[in-house]
């Protein structure tokens, strides 16, 4: 089932806007919420294209949270969950998702190169970004002491 979902997401072309590989005029941004406590990261996607954008929830399928560790290696937050409900963003609209920062750092769904489970204990500077298919967001710098 999971393989089927992933293959559908990355099929490209025939879907009305699968966010798989071609996402022209789609913009992704990472920010910090001023309205949430504890510290919460906001994931904003703007669909400036003429088609609907269909994407999976955060950390599933082609919607990946990526952390660059202090030593430069990248880890992905990737949930091996079945995606049953996709997010549809209409042309000209934007959609915001949120996730507490602590949850990202303590998630057991972290994968090193998409494979081995991983924990983030190292002190130093982390950079985080979000990508939907090939579209990457800005990076947020996180300091862990």
């Amino acid at each position: 089932m999971l393989i089927l979902i992933i293959s559908v997401c990355f099929a490209g072309g025939k879907q009305p806007n699968d966010s798989g590989l071609k996402l022209l005029n789609v913009r992704t941004e990472l920010g910090v919420s001023l309205s949430e406590d504890p510290l919460t990261i906001v994931f904003i996607v703007e669909n400036n294209s003429k088609n609907e954008l269909k994407m999976s929830p955060l950390g599933t399928s082609d919607s990946r949270i990526v952390l660059i560790k202090p030593d430069g290696t990248e880890v992905e937050l990737f949930a091996w969950a079945e995606v049953t409900k996709f997010i549809i963003v209409k042309p000209g609209e934007s959609f915001t998702q949120k996730m507490p920062l602590e949850r990202i750092f303590t998630s057991k769904a972290l994968r090193l190169n998409g494979k081995e489970p991983f924990e983030l204990n190292e002190k130093g500077k982390y950079n985080m970004y979000w990508k939907i298919g090939e579209v990457k967001s800005n990076q947020i710098l996180i300091l862990k002491e």
């Binding site: 910090v32 919420s33 504890p38 906001v42 904003i44 800005n138 990076q139 710098l141 300091l143 002491e145």
Partner: protein, 143 residues
């Protein structure tokens, strides 16, 4: 011909020396993990070969800039009369921290941003500028 080449090379060398200074000062804004309340970290790295004299946040040439959802730009200055510069040696860095986004809650004296209340909904962009060096931008969402 040789003279022109020498003049050209001299100009290139002069320009590279003249404009290289500020890029050796690297500014970053980040958020601190594992700390409550939420804290912004302002890091200055001195990659030059000489000492860098840095003023505390919001003083003199150290400006925090906020662009509100209407694209209006505010510069935040702390109205301290006496602020001592900090010397950052080559290869070293200095981190300043603002807990709980103090400047957003009016705990700091803000001289030229009295109208900034941060109550508009939308995206705010924050960055930091020291002389000509500019940090990355942080997006903050008010809902």
């Amino acid at each position: 011909m040789i003279n022109k080449a020498i003049v050209f090379l001299f100009c290139v060398l002069f320009c590279s020396l003249a404009f290289s200074g500020e890029s050796e000062i690297v500014l970053d804004i980040g958020i601190e993990m594992d700390v409550q309340p939420t804290t912004l970290c302002f890091t200055l790295q001195n990659h030059s070969e000489s000492d860098f004299s840095a003023m505390p946040l919001g003083n003199a040439n150290s400006k925090i800039i906020i662009v509100d959802p209407d694209k209006i730009k505010y510069e935040l200055f702390v109205s301290e009369k006496i602020a001592k510069p900090i010397i950052i040696k080559p290869g070293e860095s200095k981190v300043w921290k603002l807990k709980n986004f103090e400047f957003l809650k009016g705990n700091l004296s803000i001289m030229n941003a009295k109208d900034l209340k941060m109550d508009k909904k939308g995206k705010y962009i924050i960055y930091w500028q020291v002389n000509e060096s500019k940090s990355n931008e942080i997006i903050m969402l008010k809902e």
